[in-house]
């Protein structure tokens, strides 16, 4: 079974759309013009031939007299002759007196309602004995000394002459309309093609580009397409920035990973030259620490990549911030406690629910807490607020100067060269916040201590 594919308007080419939307009204217009031309031709033919009815009935009316006891007509043959044109119409005439009585004629003809005012002549299309006739009725009055009776002269002819003239006039208009419509059609199609030509150029230019080239397009384009070109160029610019970021990220990441690996290698080499097991042990402890850091760095890189992957499916669920924070604190408390960091939590004894991906939130929270401890805080407080739901981590560390806070969100930026941070923590938190449509703000925790103002990081969620 072969069914024609359904026509989908959205798939129509621009050229066809233009052609259809210009040609349809054009055809409609032409049709209207033709109908109008036909009516006009009919009217013109009727006007021309009604003159004959007019003249013939006048010429008959001139011969009407009062004689003895009634109307008298000396019918002029010329009156009948003038009714018949080259089309050899059948002609009929009749004389009626004021009471509508047939006086003479060659066929009884119907009366016409007299219009308002004083139209001496009225016309109508009538049918008599299956014959279509154009009837003209002249209302006249005897012009004599003694009598001024009214009477009616009715004359009629068949329609051959009118129809011939009407169709002749119509044919002339038809040719005109068709020629005009044809020209208009050609112009429409040509102009549609010309108007769409820049689009073809644009397409060709895009297709011919090296896929790795992200330089802006510089084609000369009409205004509408120039906007499209600008939009494309903006997209290209964003892609350039993204690629630059990625390249820098990859460079930074390699650099960061190389440092601990080089350290490991150097430490191992040094230890191998010695034979004292105590030194070996010392070296192993250091290497373990370095390996942990490298492992953590790799973990964070992985998280960041996962977070930044736009194709990662987001499986959101209802998450209770309080429970989540308590879990995290429980898990990290002992680790921090060993480093001499006091970790606490402040939360109302009820649930604060947001739409979120739990592992991402945990990642963010752990990074925040770790970050604080790495940069020398001794007191870290996790706080949950409601309305709007907020996740707040406060520490009493050195804080970040206001001018560097935006930079601090970029990967591998470290507030201070000392310390063992990877420089990825805040970047991860930022990514998570953005993935959740939440707002990330940084400010001083203790603004009154200008030496050590601490840092307060707030993630404000939208109201669930």
């Amino acid at each position: 079974m072969s069914l024609a594919p359904p026509i989908r308007l959205s798939h129509l080419s621009l050229y066809r759309r233009l052609a259809i939307w210009l040609l349809l009204p054009l055809a409609l217009l032409a049709a209207i013009m033709l109908v109008e031309a036909w009516l006009t031709s009919r009217q013109a033919a009727d006007r021309a031939y009604d003159r004959l009815l007019d003249a013939a009935s006048l010429s008959i009316a001139e011969q009407v007299r009062w004689q003895q006891s009634g109307l008298w007509l000396n019918l002029p043959a010329s009156a009948l002759e003038m009714l018949a044109t080259d089309a050899e119409e059948r002609v009929f005439y009749a004389l009626y007196d004021v009471h509508g009585h047939y006086v003479t004629g060659n066929r009884p003809l119907p009366a016409l309602p007299a219009g308002d005012g004083e139209p001496r002549m009225s016309y109508a299309d009538v049918t008599s004995d299956d014959m279509a006739l154009r009837l003209g009725v002249l209302r006249a009055r005897l012009e004599g000394w003694d009598r001024s009776d009214r009477f009616e002269v009715r004359v009629a002819q068949t329609l051959e002459g009118r129809e011939a003239l009407a169709s002749q006039l119509f044919r002339a208009s038809l040719v005109n309309v068709l020629v005009i419509a044809g020209l208009a059609m050609i112009i429409v199609l040509l102009s549609a093609r010309i108007a769409l030509e820049p689009l073809t150029r644009l397409r060709r230019a895009i297709r011919e580009r090296d896929p790795r080239t992200l330089s802006p397009l510089t084609l000369e384009m009409p205004r509408e397409l120039a906007e499209l070109r600008e939009a494309l160029n903006e997209l290209l610019a964003r892609m350039r920035r993204v690629r630059a970021n990625q390249e820098r990220f990859i460079g930074d990441a390699s650099h960061q990973l190389r440092t601990p690996l080089a350290g490991l290698s150097a430490r191992a080499e040094l230890a191998l030259r010695q034979s004292d097991p105590a030194r070996w042990r010392e070296a192993l402890v250091t290497m373990d620490d370095t390996a942990n850091r490298a492992s953590r760095l790799a973990g964070q890189l992985l998280s960041l990549t996962r977070l930044n992957n736009p194709e990662a499916a987001l499986d959101r669920e209802r998450v209770d911030l309080v429970a989540l924070a308590r879990g995290c604190v429980r898990n990290t408390f002992s680790r921090l406690h060993r480093r001499g960091v006091d970790l606490g939590i402040e939360a109302a004894p009820r649930t604060v629910v947001v739409d979120a991906t739990p592992w991402q939130l945990e990642e963010a929270l752990i990074n925040l807490v770790d970050n604080a401890s790495v940069y020398g805080a001794t007191l870290v407080t996790v706080r949950i607020e409601t309305a709007p739901p907020r996740l707040i981590v406060e520490d009493n560390g050195p804080g970040i100067p206001e001018s560097e806070r935006l930079l601090a969100l970029r990967p591998f930026h470290r507030g201070q060269e000392s310390g063992s941070g990877t420089g990825l923590g805040l970047a991860i938190v930022d990514s998570v916040a953005r993935a959740h449509g939440a707002r990330l703000t940084l400010h001083d925790a203790y603004p009154e201590h200008s030496e050590r103002p601490g840092l307060c990081i707030v993630i404000t969620f939208c109201d669930a």
Binding site: P76, E88, N106
Partner: protein, 372 residues
Amino acid sequence: MPVASLLTVWLLAPVPAPADTLHLVNDAADARPLVIYGVLDMPQMRPLLADFHRRNPDVDIVYHNLQSIELHARVRQQHARPEADVLISPAMPWQFQLANDGLSAPLETAMASAWPAWARWRQELFGVTFEPIVMVYRRDLAARMAPPRSHAELLERLEEMPEPLRGRVVTYDPRLSGAGYTYAVEDARISARYWALVEALGRSEAALETTTSAMLEGLSDGRYWIGYNLIGSYAQSYVNAHPELEIVVPRDYALVLQRMVMTLRDAPHPRTAERFVDYLLGEPAQRLIATETSLGAVHPGITGLGTANALRDTLGDAIRPVRIGPGLLAPLDTLKRQALLEQWRQAFDNHPPEPSASLTSTLEPTQEPASP
């Protein structure tokens, strides 16, 4: 009905033969019948019908030779269910009236389209013969005066010598003869001096007859010397047999009447009717008309004696065929007819009319005598 009352005074057939019938038989089962009503005497019609039958042996032809009064009365009476297929009549106004009323059917053949425009109307009504209206005089008239060769000369003779011609000129009585009425109308249309001629005829107490044959017989008897407005076709065949008579086609103008042929719209046998009319318009039939009859052929391709072409060659512009058109309807108008006849009567009687009485009396149709 005005038409009917007019028809009661219409009679063209100069030899009002009894309504005779010609039947050319084909009694095969699949014979195609054809019924013709005509005002055309057998001697003229027979060769045409015989030739048509020879060419179309499958047609069973019935020809009714009628007087025109009867022909039109029958057609009007049968109206929507006619018995006849084809009508042939020289009563042009009446034939035109039937066609104008839509009783005729168009003939869509090449022959019909090629037929001269002056001899047809709408491809429905065709003039197939060409019969001049003529004067006939006795040859011994030449001893007394130069025989008139035109209307003007006739008027001249009547005015110059009314006494010798008193009662010796004969013409149609338009009050009693439809043919005479038609010629009076046409004469009056063509020349304003016609009324002077009528007055001169009245003064010389011209005799009034109702048929061409009555006039011809009067001329042959010697009762009349000059006959005015006779149907040429009948006069020709009569004069051929009567050498004491001479025929004159008037030089100033000669009226020409035509036998009008039409197919009836509701003809019972339209196919054979079309074949017959088409045959009449064809060269073979027209050649027969020219050679075998005294009617005069119309076909432009045929020349020689007895054709319209020959008549035109000798008389040139003087030939005035009765125009086939709505003008023919005017004389049929009751009031028009009364007015014209009243004018004619006044001119002929040379005295003013006594209004009502004389008017009605002249309009009382008089029955045509059964034989001349």
